[in-house]
Amino acid sequence: MIVDDARKEFIAELLNIGVGRAGSVVSELVGARVVLEVPDIEICRSQDVLPTLTALRGDDIIAVSQGFTGVLGGDAALVINGFSGNLIVHRLLQQIGDDGDPATMRDEAITEIGNIVVNSLVGAWSKVFCDPFDFGLPVFRRGTLEDCLAPFLGTGGDQGRKTYAVSGSAHFSVNDFFIMGTLIVFFDEKSIETLMGAAAEQR
């Protein structure tokens, strides 16, 4: 399937909507203005996505993914490195006046943040496509990037079903700290065709 520039632009805009909302959500959560840089959008086959995520290296990567069904179907994931995760949770606990230990609450807190961000991303599309989406439960994974994204790369018996990955890496800065997060959506074949059709109608 050829993803020409015009179609790529349409798909990128869909992800941009989500990245913008994600920035807004993070801003509300941490109680500080978030400066959001223009995200880098990549569209590729799922099995080719890892080399494009150059900023997510090391063995402390966190991903929260959530399946969705509707006019489009697939899995959307928020992926961040452990440092960014710790920073967000620390600020979040400060914001809500919780004196608990960030380390013990980190996984649950990040799962909830991922849930909110993915719902913001896909929920915004329901307005674009005038069709509601249903969501699965959020799934937390931690390890290397390969560990975190393994279920979506077409190597675990799913080959051929989830074929395309659309990713947007965004750099947030909160006060003096830089946080790097990536939103990735793995679309099944039918959904990517629907997206291409919608993109063609936009031209």
């Binding site: 849930n115 913001s120 439960l137």
Partner: protein
């Protein structure tokens, strides 16, 4: 002040909501999904319930449907990450008293509670 049942599968979110409610002077009890929420609601008779939508075992939509068919109505505030208008409409049709999106502001929860509680429990006189 009121007794509020907080239903959410996320421990972090329950902690967040209960801290907010406690700061407002309310008593809280918790459940981790809709099924447990129905049991706790029946046993404890809370004055108000907050419920998440996307949960295992029984989700918030099924919870609202089951609670609606019960004997005594208890006001329910939906607190969810789901931002879709259709979802909000469905919850309203199922009898939800208020619908808040995560992340919620403490003042939003306070206003929602105030609107659905009697004056002696902290609601609007």
């Amino acid at each position: 002040m009121a007794k509020v049942l907080v239903i959410d599968d996320s421990g972090f979110q329950r902690r967040w909501i209960t801290r907010t409610l406690t700061a407002l002077g309310h008593e809280t009890i918790e459940a981790v999904n809709g099924l447990e929420g129905l049991r706790v609601a029946g046993a404890e008779r809370p004055d108000c319930i907050t419920v998440d939508l996307n949960m295992p075992e029984m989700d918030g939509i099924a919870f609202l449907g089951n609670l609606k068919s019960g004997e005594t109505p208890i006001p329910v505030i939906v607190i969810t990450a789901n931002i879709q208008d259709d979802t909000r409409k469905l919850c309203t049709e199922l009898g939800a008293a208020a619908f808040l999106n995560k992340p919620f502001k403490p003042t939003e929860l306070e206003q929602a509670l105030s609107a659905c509680l009697p004056a002696e429990d902290g609601g609007k006189p």
